[in-house]
């Protein structure tokens, strides 16, 4: 059996064969007016969150989540689970899969740019999740052309884009020779600010000057490499140390309940096996 570094790989350990779409999250074309460029959408960030499995402290078995009905105190199988939108205490509106399906956007294979905007106008509060678009086969030339032109004009394309079950508003811009795509929040998701922005007060010119000087003294270029998630690094160091010390625990092999077939079947199989072996 292949041994692997349980720390660096645990998150990315995958099955034996890749499932569809593991190279990109989505593939299709990005288009505007008469241009259509085949592209793939790939992740731009990986939060690198260290995740843990919940284990049973007695035998280290990994635990599973089940849906419990408190009323009957039984585990509810998936086919008995439906969705309800809560409208009040003990009051729900039941919504079916079909109803949700009927309001979901049609899957689409295109990111259609509808406007070109100045990205500086988009406040960071609108930024949701960053991705990159990479050219698919045959699209390289047009892709680079678009990257270059967008860089020069300093514009970002605003587009609508269906991913999964939702339609997103996205901004596509040129970043270091590639196209980046950021999903944006819709304006109705942005919380109102009236209540949190304090009322204006009168400020002395002298005070203003002092604060300004203070800021100037601390001015720097943005260098994200200077900062790191210290807790994460410490957790990883801890895990590395523990794995070197071989303090790994082992979960029991999940013993598929053996001989749990119908008694008749087991008896019949044993009988025919006896015949096979006696020949």
């Amino acid at each position: 059996m292949r041994t692997r570094d349980p720390i660096s790989e645990s998150k990315r350990a995958s099955g034996k064969e890749e499932e569809p779409g593991s190279h990109g999250i989505w593939s299709g074309t990005i288009s505007f007016s008469l241009v259509a460029i085949p592209v793939q959408l790939v992740k731009a960030v990986d939060t690198g969150r260290v995740s843990f499995r919940m284990l049973h402290n007695k035998d280290y078995s990994p635990l599973q989540r089940r849906m419990l009905c408190p009323e009957e105190d039984t585990i509810v199988p998936p086919e008995e689970i439906i969705r309800g939108y809560q409208t009040g205490p003990e009051k729900y509106i039941v919504v079916t899969d079909e109803e949700l399906e009927s309001v979901s956007p049609e899957r689409s294979r295109t990111i259609e740019i509808i406007e070109f905007i100045d990205i500086k106008e988009v406040d960071s509060v609108y930024y949701d999740h960053p991705y990159y678009l990479v050219p698919s086969k045959g699209g390289e030339r047009a892709y680079h052309l678009l990257v270059e032109v967008m860089r020069r004009t300093n514009k970002a394309g605003l587009a609508k884009f269906v991913l999964g079950e939702r339609e997103y508003l996205v901004a596509v811009k040129s970043v270091e020779g590639a196209l980046s795509l950021v999903t944006l929040h819709y304006s109705e998701e942005i919380l109102p600010t009236e209540d949190i922005i304090p009322e204006e007060v009168k400020i002395e010119a002298d005070e203003k000057r002092r604060i300004k000087e203070g800021i100037n003294k601390m001015r720097a270029d943005f260098d994200p490499e200077k900062y790191a998630d210290l807790r994460r690094n410490k957790i990883l160091a801890l895990l590395k140390k523990k794995s070197r010390e071989k303090v790994l625990v082992e979960a029991p092999e999940i013993e598929e309940v053996e001989g749990k077939g119908p008694a008749d079947l087991i008896a019949a199989l044993e009988e025919s096996m006896r015949k096979v072996k006696s020949r």
Binding site: M1, E17, E258, G261, L265, I266, A268, L269, S272
Partner: protein, 301 residues
């Protein structure tokens, strides 16, 4: 890029990149693959019919990357038959049904060398029409060990009045099929039954067989993968090509032929390539025909 427009049954189809060498170390191009599927179509089509196809595409050949496609590509011609699959907790999905020659050729033209299908038809996705034992040799075991296991399985099942059929996987293993074709049989039945069989095989031949998935149990043994009996799983379709160094095919075998090959102890003889697959199938007919027609009930359930 070469293109060729053909017409089958009045439907137009554009074939592309016919000269691409998809099996480079053997010299087997897209054109050869299309020709293989055209000639085998009469035999493979009944086994693909009305099943949700999973395409396994090798656009740059068997030595390069492949990808699975469960959804029927949206750029399909309008005449490609499809079905909508609804599975609990998943998005509904449109799948291709390879019910005719033109669709088969269209699919093959997508460099979908391997055609994988479920054990149930799209119209009744929870009703398997056969039970399967996927015999997979672990490290240190080979197809001859699988042959031994398959022959014991055949006898064991025969003692329970069940007829079984065998095909090569086209890789290192064998697939034993027990036709059911009975609308009251569920995957729960076939899974429970096959698991009980796998367990008694392991108990009776502990040196040869394991019923456990974990790699460490599989060394020098044949893993009887009973868990393929599931509505979410697919098997390589009989007569499908496999993406290996050579254009090898998953072909049915007669049991007596398998017995002879077991005596000869030559694993290479069990790798059937495209031309041999065509000549033997044309001579013998479809040895897997009963798998989709023969009605059998699993006893004692």
């Amino acid at each position: 890029m070469s293109r060729k427009i053909i017409e089958i049954a009045g439907k137009r189809l554009t074939l592309s990149n016919l000269e691409t060498d998809l099996y480079p170390s053997y010299g087997f191009t897209k054109a050869h693959i299309l020709e293989y599927y055209r000639r085998i179509s009469k035999f493979i089509l009944p086994h693909l019919k009305d099943r949700a196809l999973t395409l396994k595409r090798y656009p740059e050949g068997v030595e390069k990357e492949f990808f699975f496609e469960k959804r029927c590509p949206s750029h399909r011609p309008a005449w490609v038959p499809t079905a909508r699959i609804l599975r609990h907790g998943e998005e509904p999905m449109t799948v291709c049904l390879v019910n005719d020659l033109e669709t088969l050729i269209w699919v093959a033209n997508l460099a979908s060398l391997e055609l994988h299908v479920p054990l149930a038809r799209a119209g009744s996705p929870e009703t398997p029409d056969s039970m399967v034992f996927d015999l997979d040799p672990g490290d240190g075991a080979d197809i001859l060990d699988c042959t031994r296991v398959a022959l014991i399985l055949r006898d064991l099942l025969a003692n329970m009045a069940l007829t079984s059929y065998v095909k090569t996987s086209g890789k290192k293993g064998l697939h034993v099929y027990v036709p059911v074709n009975h609308k009251e049989t569920t995957f729960e039945d076939t899974k429970g039954f096959s698991k009980a069989v796998a367990e008694i095989m392991q108990k009776s031949y502990p040196e040869l067989v394991t019923s456990k998935m974990a790699k460490e149990y599989r060394k020098k043994k044949v893993f009887i993968n009973w868990s393929q009996n599931d509505s979410s799983k697919t098997m390589i379709c009989v007569y499908s090509m496999r993406a290996r160094e050579k254009p090898v095919v998953s072909v049915p075998m007669e049991w007596k032929e398998l017995e002879k090959l077991a005596e000869k102890a030559d694993p290479e003889r069990m790798q059937i390539t495209h031309s041999e697959a065509i000549s033997r199938t044309e001579a013998k007919g479809d040895l897997f025909q009963d798998v989709i027609t023969k009605e059998q009930r699993l006893p004692h359930l």
